[in-house]
Structure formats: structure tokens, C-alpha cells
């Protein structure tokens, strides 16, 4: 069975999509921290889903040029594959369908709390 993307995957993919050519781990982390206003993102928390996504063919990675700022180590850039784009599209449509007809402010059925 084809599995749906998780919320973390979705966030990661959208970040990569937005960052375009600049999508390596450090800006990804920074962007995530920025938009989600949560500070408890860890690098490890990014590597694991990225490894999984890469294994599933959702993203692909390539090595960039080494820079001195990184102790001479190269960056690993991520790029969404076609399969990944389709999966993202799918999630977006699913989301749209699911949210359709639900008011902007979500109330409890039993009225105000």
C-alpha cells in the first residue's frame, strides 16, 4: 500500500520546495524553526525523515561544494523528485477535500465551552 506523507514529511517537502536551490539541512532547519515558531527542532529530527524520504524516492540528494565554514565538509542538497511532487500534490488535494465545509474558526458541536 502506498503510504501517505506524514505531517513532518509534508513540512520538510514544502520547505525544500520553497528553498529551491538552497535546500540543504541548515536552512531547512532554520526555516522550520521560523515558521513553526517552535525551537525544539533537531538536526537528527530532520535527518531521519529525510533518509526515509530519500529511500522511498520522494527526494533525492546531491553533494555541494565544501566550504570552510563547515570545516571543509560539503553540503548535502535535497531536491524533490517527480514522485515527490506527485505525493505533495496528492496531500494538498486530500487536505483541501478534508477541510472543505469546515468553518474557519472551529467550534465544538456542543456549543461554546
Amino acid at each position: 500500500m502506498k503510504e501517505l506523507l506524514t505531517r513532518t514529511d509534508e513540512l520538510l517537502l514544502l520547505t525544500i520546495y520553497r528553498l529551491k536551490e538552497d535546500a540543504y539541512t541548515v536552512p531547512i532547519l532554520e526555516h522550520l524553526e521560523e515558521v513553526s515558531s517552535r525551537k525544539n527542532w533537531t538536526l537528527a529530527g530532520i535527518y531521519i525523515p529525510l533518509l526515509k524520504l530519500e529511500k522511498n524516492g520522494i527526494v533525492e540528494s546531491y553533494l555541494g561544494e565544501p566550504t570552510s565554514q563547515r570545516g571543509g565538509r560539503s553540503k548535502r542538497y535535497y531536491k524533490i523528485t517527480n514522485k515527490g511532487l506527485r505525493a505533495l500534490q496528492e496531500v494538498k488535494e486530500l487536505q483541501k477535500t478534508m477541510w472543505d465545509g469546515i468553518p474557519d474558526m472551529i467550534y465544538s458541536d456542543e456549543g461554546d465551552l
Binding site: 541548515v26 533537531t42 538536526l43 537528527a44 533518509l51 565544501p66 563547515r70 565538509r73
Partner: protein, 870 residues
């Protein structure tokens, strides 16, 4: 970024390398470094560090979890197989585990013993800067060492040399002092005396009182915990007064110390300031002739002891040119326990012997080795049954490292079992071992020696090391080799390595057997050796003082009224060689020749009490006037001094007192007799008339000894003596000379038995294996008409040949070692072939018994059954 932070970053990198997946590792570390640097530049090093620590902690779980999960599954599988294997081969597993744990347990106990021996005096804080002063004298070309120094030396030495931080005199006590508190009075031989600096130099732990001032006042006394309990029960001890008969004074308790550890060479129950001894030796404190005390010095830090020792070598001569002391030097506190063999036998009791420590350490290693050999032999032998399993693992994709892992898991299980079983064994046998070794090992005590970690370490190391060999061998085969037992080489029951190991095992066992035999024959020889006097039923003790002091002869007569007391004499028993002299002169002495002669003193009943044989002349007798100034010589003394027809020759001796004795004559010659232990040659002896009042010896009849002792006790009360009657048995004193040898003999006896046990159960296991392996061969031979006898011979021959080879290795080694050991004794047994032949026969016999059950069963087995097996 500064180096400090760079280092921290490197450290973090190291951790991350362990946990991050290999694929992204380099880029990931780059990421970490980039962010770290950024935070560092923006918010400083603290924030950066906090960030990286948080990152590491958060990464640990997700990455580690996935790896561990898989490894754990495999581990569980290995463990399951290991347990199944142990269960399936019950005989082999129990042989392996029992020999390993017995081996480990024994060597651990030896280890405890060795560690205790090496721990002597280590508890002193100033262990490294403390020294004992040794003096050497020379007489007739022989050097005599003593741990005693002229009394004024310590003061002089401290004044003269700035290198010396502190000095202290010490003496361990005298026999038979009475210590009284109110109604309670006990005889104590351990009333030590020392200078006030004693507790500054030596770290004995005070429970009450102040170590700095404890000995400052003249009438103060320090007591041990046990003594405090004995005299004062639970009352507070400080300030109480104890009466000492030795100094005729009342002493105030100024401190209570913990009981002196057994591994201290300084031993005492009470300690008093040394100045109290002026009651006895008032003139000796400034006398360079007198050597009453041991002396210790503490050098200031960083002083080279050996160098400093050179400086003081002639110190006595400089201050007192007439001295007999030729050299003075320092001995490290470290060496005191092992280097205390002095010319006087009594000083040597309970002293360590480095050779024995080495020998026992070797024994410990060998025991473990023998146990390991069992493990290796049996498991390589059994690998024939394991190879199928390994083959299948290999065909299903296990590589060499997986097989090695599996074997390591098995050995971990094995070492766990070994550690548990040997722990239990040690727990059970420690009291027995304490008794054999003559030390007091409590469970609490051995824990302080880092016992548990070392037990676990040894157990694990032993199993892992021996399984390394297995791992290499078993994993080496390819799957086809492993599956096909006809190709598999090491399965052939008797490969050459196994033979070598068996020979090694039995060589050691036979070596131990030989050593035990020799030691016991030597001890037996010593026991039965004619010493030249009769040591049986002789007790020695202090006679009554007080009113009886003036009538020694009447004390004798009173005692002799009891028919059980056969003879009484005022004399020292011939238990030591401590009193010797060259200061003798006789008719016809060649001037300028020096002869060392030992002096024994006695009265009219000396020869009779000790049953020393008279060769010529007569003994001191009440019937002759003036016998007090006459002498007797032993045969060897006559021949060494070169006196011809000695009877009636004029002879004079100026003993230690240097007061001229009236000229006397030699009135008799006695047969040689041994002074002290048989480690020494027989010595020339001069017997001098000098009653050693109040010290006396008595020969008592072997019947009703308790009655006789009671008689003594009652007489003592009758005499109005304040001290209770207390005595020493000469036979025990003499036995004590060989205490070290006896102990080593006893330890060796048990460990010979144990090493034999391990070797023979190994042999037993191997026989089972060989019989099993050759089932078909036996079947075919039987079908073709082999008799039971031939089958048995076929199966046993090879193993017995191994034992004979082992014996041929063990015998010469044993001969060399034991000859060396025997050199310590001036009187010793000859090593004939007998002991070696007996050892070989015993080993062969036990080996035959061990393997015969299996071989006989195989011989009688039904060939139909064994052949149908295929």
C-alpha cells in the same frame, strides 16, 4: 573560534560519529559545525555548547534505537542457541563450567592471599618516605643483620641530617607482662613502646584521643579497640588507669586505636612512651653498646632513600669507635615484610617470602590455564556436532564475523555462569582457605581488595580469551567444509594441538604432585630428625618472682614433688642461635684466630631436662665445688676450636658483659645439638653455668598434662605470685620455625588435588568424546573379531602415552625446582627416583580409572547398535 570550543566541537563530533548513519555522516557533521559556529558567533560559546549538547541528546534515541533493535534480536537468537547447546551436552557443559569455575575460584583465593601479602604496611600515609634502620655486625667472617640500633642513634641521626623529618624508636613488647585494671588482670606479650613521634609517622586510626599528643606524657598508654572492650567493656576508656607490672607504674589511657591490621608488621595491643623503660634500662639510653629498640626514620619528601642510606653507613663508628657495628643502612618500609630474614630465628616468624608469593601467583595462573585447556579441548572436540549448525548459518548468509559474534555470545554466557559458580565456591570455601593459609580473610576484608571487579574481570577474560581460539577455528571453515564432517579437519578426535594441551595439563598436575610429595617428605624428615636433644614434653615459662625470688632451688624442689614433673632447669631452651661470641680463650689458642661460638646457659639439670648426650667428662654437679666457672663444649666446638683432649683444659669466656669471669675449665663434651631451625647448619656450642632465673624449662610426663598444668597454677598461687602461670610448649615453638614451609605445603596439597581434579575431569570428557567419535570403528573392529581387551587398549593407549610424556616433562622440572627449594635447609632429604616413580604411577592409575568406565563400556558395546547408527 578558540581552541577550547574547537576541542568541544571535536568531542561532540566523536559522539555523533557513533550514532549517525554512515551515509550522511560527513555532511551531517558539516551541518552541526556550521550551526555551532553561527550560534557561537551570534550568542557566544555557552549558547553554542548548550545547543550541541541538546542536539546530541535528542539524536541519541532515534538512531540508536533502530540499530539496537536489530542487534538485540540477533543476540537473543545467539543466546537461545547457546543455552540449547549447554543443555544438550550436559556432561560437557558441566565439565567445562565446573573446571573453569573451580580454576577461577582457586586462583582468586590465591590472588587474595598474594594481594594480602603485598599489602603489608601500605595503609600508612607515609608509606613511601618511611624506613627502618638496619645494622650489620661482623663476626668470624660472617655478617649478621639486625633491625635493632644503638639507643642514642635516633637522636644523633636527626640532629645531623636535615633530610630526616622524623625518627622513632619502637619495641614490640616483652613476654608475660601483666596488665591490670581493678579486678581484671591479664598477661599480655604485646605491650609495645615507642617515641611520641610514632603516631605522626605511622597512620594508626584513632577512635578516641589525639594522635599528636597521645604519647607526650610519660605515664600515658594507647590501647586497641579489643583491649578497650576487654578491660572497660562499654565504658569510656579515656582517662582510665591501667597498672603495668612490667614498669611497675599506673598508666592513663590517652587514646584508643582501631585494632592493628593483620597486614602491619608493627604489632601491639598497648603502647607506652619509651622513656618508661628506664625502669629496666636507665643506663642504656645513652649507651652505644646497647641495641634495645628498632628504629624508624621518615625522610623529607623527594629524598632518595638509597642515596641517603649511603651517607649514614658509618654513623655508629663515627660516634662510638669501639662499636662492633660495621654498617648501618635504611630499609624501605616497602621491603620490611619481605626482607626480614635476620640472623635471629625468632625475628623471622610470620615474615613474608617473595619466592612463595611468586610461586603461588604462578600456581594461580597455571590453575586457570589447566581449566582453560579443558574448555578449549572439549569445545573443539564437540565442534563436530556444532559444525552442522554453523554450516547452515553460513549457507543462510551469516558471514565470518557473525559466527564469531555467536561464539562470543556463548562464551559470555559461559563466563557469566563461571563467575556465579566461582563466586559461590569462594563464598563457601573462604573460611577453609583462611584456615589453611593461616590468615584471616573475612568477606568484608576481601571486598576492600577490589575483589568483585577482579573476579568478574578474570572470569570474563578467561572465557573470552579461550573462546577467541574457538572463534577463529570454527569460523574459518567455509559452509561446505563445515557441513561435511569428513572434510572437516579439526573434528578428528585427536588433533595434535589437543594432544599438546593435554600433555601441558598433566605436566603441571604431575609437577604439583611431585612438589607436594617432596615438601611433605621434607617436613616429615624435619619432624623426625634427631635434634640432639629431646624436644617432647618440654614447656618453658617464667618462674615465680616475689618472695620466691631469693630461693630458686626451693622452687625447683617444690615443683619436683609432683611425680609428673620429671625435671626442671633454669635455662633457655635451645630454640635460637641469638647468643654467640668470639670472645673466648683457652689453653693453646693460636693468637689472632677468631672463632664464632654459640653460648647456651644452664644449671645443674640442663642436660638431664633436654636429654643431651654426654660424650666425655661430666656435667655440672652440685658435688663439685666451683663448677659455676666451668664449661662444657659440643663435639663440633671442640673440633672447630681445635682443642685436643679438652677435658681439664683451662677455658675462659667473657660474654656480653665484658666482666672477667674467673678462669674455669672444660669439664665435659656433649654431642652436637641443633639450635633453632634445621635451615641452619649445626653450630659449635659452649654451655656455660648460669641459671637463667626466673626463666625456666620443665620436662613433664605425657600423662595427665592438664593435671600437671593445674598443679603449676596452684603452686603459683601458693608462692604468692601475682601473675597467673603461663607457658609455651617447646615442640610448638620448633614447629613454628617451619610455619612458612608447612603453610605452602598445605596450600600446595589442596591445589594439587584441585588441579588433578580439573585435569582428570577434562580427560574424562575427552574419553567420552573419543569413544563417541569412534563408535563405528569400534563396531567394525568387533565385527571383525576384536576382543574387549583389544578395544580397551586401543582406546586408552593414546591417552596413557600422553600422560607418560607429561611425566617425562614434569620430572626434570620438578627435580630442579624442588632441589632449589631444599637448598634452604641445611638438613634435607635426598631426591631419589622414588618420588618421581610414585607420582607417575599415581597419575597413570587415576587416569586409567578415569577413562576405564568409558572404554570398558565401549568394549562391551553391541556392534549391531553402533553400526546401525549411520
Amino acid at each position: 573560534m578558540d581552541t577550547k570550543n574547537r576541542n568541544r566541537l571535536y568531542f561532540a563530533e566523536k559522539i555523533l560519529r557513533q550514532i549517525l548513519p554512515d551515509k550522511i555522516i560527513n555532511t551531517a557533521i558539516g551541518d552541526y559545525e556550521e550551526i555551532f559556529t553561527e550560534i557561537y558567533l551570534e550568542r557566544g560559546s555557552f549558547a553554542a555548547q548548550r545547543w550541541i549538547i541538546y542536539q546530541i541528546l535528542m539524536s541519541l534515541f532515534p538512531f540508536v534505537y533502530s540499530t539496537i533493535c536489530w542487534r538485540a534480536t540477533m543476540l537473543m537468537n545467539y543466546l537461545k542457541f547457546a543455552i540449547r547447546n549447554l543443555k544438550r551436552n550436559k556432561v560437557f557443559s558441566s565439565i567445562t563450567i565446573s573446571s573453569l569455575s573451580v580454576g577461577v575460584a582457586c586462583s582468586m583465593m590465591i590472588f587474595i592471599w598474594v594481594k594480602d601479602e603485598l599489602s603489608f604496611d601500605k595503609f600508612h600515609k607515609n608509606y613511601d618516605s618511611l624506613y627502618r634502620v638496619i645494622t650489620e655486625t661482623e663476626a668470624a667472617g660472617q655478617i649478621y643483620r639486625k633491625p635493632a640500633v644503638p639507643t642514642p642513634l635516633v637522636v644523633t641521626i636527626q640532629d645531623e641530617y636535615p633530610e630526616i623529618l622524623n625518627t622513632c624508636r619502637f619495641r614490640g613488647g616483652f613476654t608475660g607482662w601483666l596488665v591490670r585494671y581493678g579486678e581484671k588482670s591479664f598477661i599480655n606479650d604485646r605491650v609495645g613502646m615507642a617515641d611520641p613521634s610514632f603516631f605522626e609517622m605511622f597512620s594508626f586510626k584513632f577512635l578516641e584521643g589525639d594522635p599528636k599528643t597521645a604519647l607526650n606524657e610519660r605515664y600515658s598508654i594507647i590501647i586497641t579497640e579489643d583491649m578497650a572492650k576487654k578491660y572497660f567493656d562499654d565504658e569510656k576508656s579515656l582517662g582510665k588507669q591501667l597498672i603495668l607490672t612490667g614498669t611497675r607504674t599506673a598508666m592513663t589511657v590517652k587514646g584508643v586505636i582501631e585494632n592493628i591490621p593483620k597486614n602491619s608488621h608493627l604489632q601491639f595491643d598497648f603502647l607506652i612512651p619509651i622513656e618508661n623503660m628506664d625502669y629496666w634500662w636507665s643506663e642504656d639510653f645513652n649507651n652505644w653498646e646497647r641495641m634495645r629498640f628498632n628504629a624508624y626514620v621518615q625522610l623529607i619528601e623527594n629524598t632518595e632513600g638509597a642515596e641517603f642510606s649511603q651517607k649514614i653507613s658509618d654513623i655508629v663508628k663515627r660516634h662510638y669507635p669501639e662499636t662492633a657495628i660495621t654498617r648501618t643502612y635504611l630499609q624501605r618500609l616497602k621491603d620490611v615484610h619481605f626482607d626480614s630474614e635476620f640472623s635471629q630465628d625468632e625475628e623471622n616468624f610470620g615474615k613474608g617470602n617473595k619466592t612463595y608469593v611468586l610461586a603461588l601467583s604462578a600456581l594461580a595462573v597455571i590453575l586457570i590455564l589447566i581449566a582453560c585447556i579443558n574448555y578449549i579441548n572439549l569445545s573443539t572436540a564437540r565442534s563436530i556436532y556444532r559444525s552442522k549448525e554453523i554450516g547452515i548459518r553460513k549457507t543462510t548468509g551469516a558471514n565470518r564475523s557473525d559466527i564469531i559474534k555467536q561464539i562470543l555470545v556463548e562464551s559470555t554466557l559461559l563466563s557469566f555462569l563461571t563467575i556465579v559458580v566461582s563466586g559461590v565456591l569462594i563464598f563457601l570455601f573462604l573460611p577453609i582457605f583462611s584456615e589453611i593459609s593461616g590468615k584471616e580473610f573475612s568477606y568484608g576484608y576481601i571486598e576492600t581488595l577490589m575483589f568483585l571487579p577482579i573476579l568478574v574481570g578474570t572470569g570474563a577474560a578467561v572465557c573470552l580469551l579461550s573462546s577467541t581460539y574457538l572463534a577463529v577455528i570454527q569460523s574459518a571453515n567455509g559452509p561446505i567444509q563445515a557441513l561435511n564432517k569428513y572434510i572437516n579437519k579439526q573434528n578428528s578426535g585427536e588433533n595434535s594441538l589437543r594432544r599438546v594441551l593435554v600433555v601441558a595439563q598433566f605436566s603441571f598436575s604431575i609437577l604439583f604432585l611431585i612438589s607436594t610429595f617432596v615438601i611433605y617428605s621434607q617436613l616429615n624428615y624435619i619432624n623426625n630428625k634427631d635434634l640432639g636433644y629431646n624436644k617432647d614434653q618440654i614447656i618453658y615459662f617464667y618462674g615465680p618472682r616475689g618472695e620466691m625470688e631469693n630461693s630458686p632451688e626451693s622452687v625447683k624442689n617444690e615443683l619436683l614433688q609432683n611425680p609428673s614433673i620429671l625435671s626442671v632447669t633454669y635455662a633457655y631452651p635451645p630454640r635460637s642461635i641469638s647468643w654467640y661470641t668470639t670472645d673466648i680463650d683457652w689453653d693453646g689458642k693460636v693468637p689472632g684466630t677468631d672463632h664464632l661460638i654459640n653460648v647456651q646457659s644452664g644449671d645443674y639439670d640442663y642436660l638431664k631436662t633436654f636429654e643431651i648426650e654426654l660424650v666425655e667428662g661430666r656435667y655440672f654437679s652440685r658435688d663439685f665445688a666451683g663448677d659455676e666457672s666451668n664449661y662444657l663444649l659440643s663435639e663440633s666446638a671442640v673440633s672447630i676450636l681445635g682443642i685436643k683432649s679438652p677435658i681439664g683444659k683451662r677455658f675462659t669466656y667473657r660474654g656480653e658483659l665484658r666482666s672477667a669471669d674467673p678462669e674455669g675449665r672444660i669439664i665435659g663434651v656433649v654431642k652436637d645439638f641443633h639450635l633453632g631451625s634445621l635451615h641452619n647448619e649445626i653450630r659449635p656450642i659452649l654451655i656455660k653455668f648460669m641459671p637463667t632465673f626466673p626463666f625456666m624449662c620443665a620436662k613433664i610426663s605425657p600423662e595427665n598434662i592438664p593435671g600437671t598444668i593445674e598443679f603449676f597454677e596452684n603452686k603459683w598461687k601458693e608462692f604468692g605470685e601475682v601473675r597467673p602461670f603461663s607457658y609455651t610448649i617447646l615442640d610448638e615453638t620448633i614447629n613454628d620455625f617451619y610455619r612458612n614451609e608447612r603453610k605452602i605445603g598445605q596450600i600446595l596439597k589442596y591445589f594439587t588435588f584441585i588441579s588433578g581434579f580439573i585435569a582428570f575431569i577434562g580427560l574424562f570428557g575427552l574419553t567420552i568424546h573419543i569413544v563417541e567419535h569412534k563408535t563405528r570403528e569400534i563396531g567394525i573392529r568387533k565385527v571383525l573379531g576384536a576382543s574387549v581387551r583389544e578395544i580397551i587398549i586401543m582406546l586408552s593407549r593414546n591417552l596413557l602415552v600422553l600422560i607418560v610424556i607429561a611425566a617425562f616433562i614434569a620430572c626434570p622440572v620438578g627435580w630442579m625446582l624442588m632441589n632449589n627449594w631444599l637448598k634452604d635447609f641445611a638438613y634435607r632429604i635426598e631426591l631419589g627416583p622414588g618420588i618421581f616413580i610414585i607420582s607417575l604411577l599415581i597419575s597413570l592409575f587415576i587416569a586409567l580409572v578415569t577413562i576405564s568406565y568409558q572404554t570398558i563400556r565401549a568394549g562391551f558395546s553391541d556392534p549391531v547398535k553402533s553400526l546401525r547408527n549411520e
